[in-house]
Symmetry: D2
Subunit: 281 residues, 4 copies
């Protein structure tokens, strides 16, 4: 069902890889809601993923670009404005990757060159994207910029590693730039802190299934899906949220406000059944 919430709006979606991607769902939903968009991802992701399929389906051009490259970003905005016929109304940043995690470097054995890459890809790219857009005056007055984050920016989850620090920085960039872009062009900048989601990126994380289970049982509404996240993004791109900025908005079925649910604790208690009800180890 469409509400035409984004009728006449122009958007750029960073980070769609395949139909498990949140960015993919956002792209689909944005078009359903009346927007015209461009898609962008790294050249290798464009080759290996299914972006061209999405491109055809949505009649949305793909602009391969490395989001850590200022030049590439300039091209993304220049081409997008050309293709879409005007300034951009909304942008989604759904980009994150930790080479330290990939190389199985633990947090107390980080490689600092790789940490720089984690930060560049997952956080600084957001600053670059906004700085480029602002310099080019590429975003419409009152436009909306959203990046995807995770609760690890505030609370430590084992194994999330240097991505936690990158997400903290990402959320800080949203505030810092939200102030400047807001006062000058009324552009909103927010992050959505989404439930853990079984995307291609997420599915590689060790123990992801158990974390999803715990998160599901802790959240009174259960984990939020990629589809639901897309719906929420649409509200932030729409004209109904013109005074929401510099916020990190939890879209997580309530997880972030939970200390312990009965459902998660009931499951936890089962773990003691074989052990004679031990307390602590």
């Amino acid at each position: 069902m469409s509400y035409n919430l984004l009728k006449g709006k122009r958007g750029i979606i960073f980070g769609a890889l395949n139909d498990m991607s949140i960015a993919w769902k956002v792209a689909e939903r944005a078009v359903e809601e009346g927007a015209i968009i461009t898609l962008t991802n790294t050249p290798i992701a464009v080759r290996m993923g299914d972006v061209s399929e999405l491109s055809q389906k949505l009649n949305a051009e793909v602009i391969p670009a490395d989001a850590t490259s200022v030049e590439d970003l300039e091209e993304v905005f220049a081409k997008s404005m050309e293709i879409l016929g005007g300034k951009i109304d909304f942008v989604l940043h759904s980009i994150g990757m930790s080479p330290n995690v990939r190389k199985k470097r633990t947090y107390d054995d980080l490689d600092y060159d790789l940490l720089n890459k984690t930060l560049d890809i997952s956080a600084i790219s957001f600053h670059k994207m906004i700085q480029v857009a602002k310099k080019m005056d590429a975003i419409s007055e009152g436009g909306s910029i959203v990046a995807l984050s995770y609760v690890a920016a505030q609370r430590t989850l084992y194994g999330y590693n240097d991505m936690a620090d990158a997400k903290s920085m990402l959320e800080s960039i949203a505030r810092s730039f939200g102030y400047i872009y807001g006062r000058e062009k009324r552009v909103r900048v927010n992050t959505i802190s989404q439930s853990p989601t079984m995307t291609t990126a997420g599915s590689g994380v060790k123990g992801m299934d158990k974390l999803l289970d715990f998160s599901e049982r802790m959240s009174p509404l259960g984990n939020a899906s990629a589809d639901e996240c897309a719906g929420y993004c649409i509200t932030l791109f729409s004209d109904l949220t013109k005074k929401v900025t510099m916020q990190n908005l939890f879209h997580d079925g309530g997880f972030s406000s939970m200390g312990m649910s009965l459902r998660a604790m009931s499951q936890y208690e089962k773990s003691f059944d074989d052990e004679g009800n031990e307390i602590l180890g």
Copy 2:
């Protein structure tokens, strides 16, 4: 412009007094978006305010009720379901009043009977409303409950007095009940922390104009208006936010994430012009 975001939904709006009220704007906007609603306020507010005007305009029945009375609340839900023809999809709680403030009792000279009234009217009424609704099974699966709050729940503003404590409790109730109603009926419970707004209630606050000025200059997007707040409420009542719950959501032009803006500081600096640039007193 309408998106039909609330098409076919049934709602109850607590707290509309006159066309300066946020609840008034939410009622208008909800109907524009396709909802059918009932209105409720205290008998005295119904007599003294312009609710009947709104009632006619929106073709929405008024049910006078004291939101601190469980019986009255039961009647509100019973009648609303009867009038609207089914369970309720969304509820707005826009109720708050401090008899201590009215009686000019400062925070270090509170009257404790009046404090109980502040809490009962401004916070416990929210619990009563939800408890009544849940016991009557009056809210649809996946429904949405929103209460209006203020940043004073987290940060102290002089003169806000015992309303700060009431708003803290209000936000806690949203979490506590959000957990229970969410796990059982997928009902969402959230608060919106709105910019200071020149409603009839607000206009009585001493120094309100200067506070509004400071808040306006601190917020990169300026203060959010009652109309804008109505738009934001609609997104939370809609099906696009089905996994957002137990949150306090700032709708404030960025104020809550600001420490100091250039614009507010520039104004502040002017205060020293007559005084030879004094530092501290």
Copy 3:
């Protein structure tokens, strides 16, 4: 070992019942650190608990008082100043009780008279204590007031019930009064958010042992004990924290900043062993 951190200071400790009480430990530690103190608790607690034993041990007079009674509080401060020979330098508020929990009323079936009692005992008593002290000018310039809180004030834990709302209000009172008492007399007001602790009060909570286990495994340093909490209180009563005010300070081994620990998740995973590795229910 004593540092004489409270040498020459006068204090009042509210809420010591027996040697499991945090307030008991704080009283002992305060005296070790050179303070002279009075003890107070309700008349019934004084009769039923071991306060007279503590009184003798510490040479500290017991003043029976109902902390919800302004008159009783006036007597506590008047007598304490008389006994201790001057204004009070520090006060501990360790008081909380929910008649709704005792009567097994669930959060969606609260008795509102009992809720008022929960609030009066667990939160408003803190306001009354400070208001009384301020009116009597009973706290020394730069004095320190601390109340004990729990993470449930920010995040929902099943079964904590209306105590969560009371603790939220308690923390708000610390901010609201911290502002006023700070600007006028430089008196600090803070709350300590302590790990779940197996006190007499805590031991009555159903499922408390499992919650303690989960909390222990989530917290990198494990749960904080009552003894450790006493040590932390001493730092807040001392002159080393004269600019710390209006804060809620977590004393919890890191729990509040955790999303998921490896140790808790390893235990959680065991719960699936008998069930063929089920994902969700």
Copy 4:
């Protein structure tokens, strides 16, 4: 006055430059409290500042080191353990600098090489310091690591620029490493969010005097001084805070919990006197 709170403890203080530095005050106070310490700063800071004076006064060796260099950090810990005769009990990280600020690059015109330097100096150095220490097993069981932060990590202050993002990352590192170092060696990692302080670094910031004035008037206890910060650091290094970890602790006279004080607003109102009481601009 000394309490001997750090008697027998060994510490390393990063970042003392001259007697305006917070790190300088912490070094002095730590020695007063019975600790033996080493001092470290960059070679250029050692040459240009007064560190050798402090070194003599405290009988504390200076180890010049670039805190962004893993090798240099290894030497700091190796030499410190050698000089002090054992593992280190506490470390202060008081390091931060933004080349973008120095070069007057605004936040919407950052140089990304300089941003990398800001992050490396102000945030990643903290990770490197801890990773080096952990790999060398240089911190005693139950030791304490503290870094200095600022409220800009949570709320935007104009002109603080990319330091805000660096401080956010710094606070995230405290959590991430606090989890790991805590579970393995019971080492605490915290940040102190200090009032704006007129250090040599701070005094270069444009408009710093007005910001200090506003902050002073907003904070019920006024701004916290460097001396007071030193006292607070001591409590965190002591054995009285063994269960406090992964926290960002505000030491700011209450500023962080204020929305608006009467005193700041009274000053603000004066700014309108010449302008006929204008509202907004």
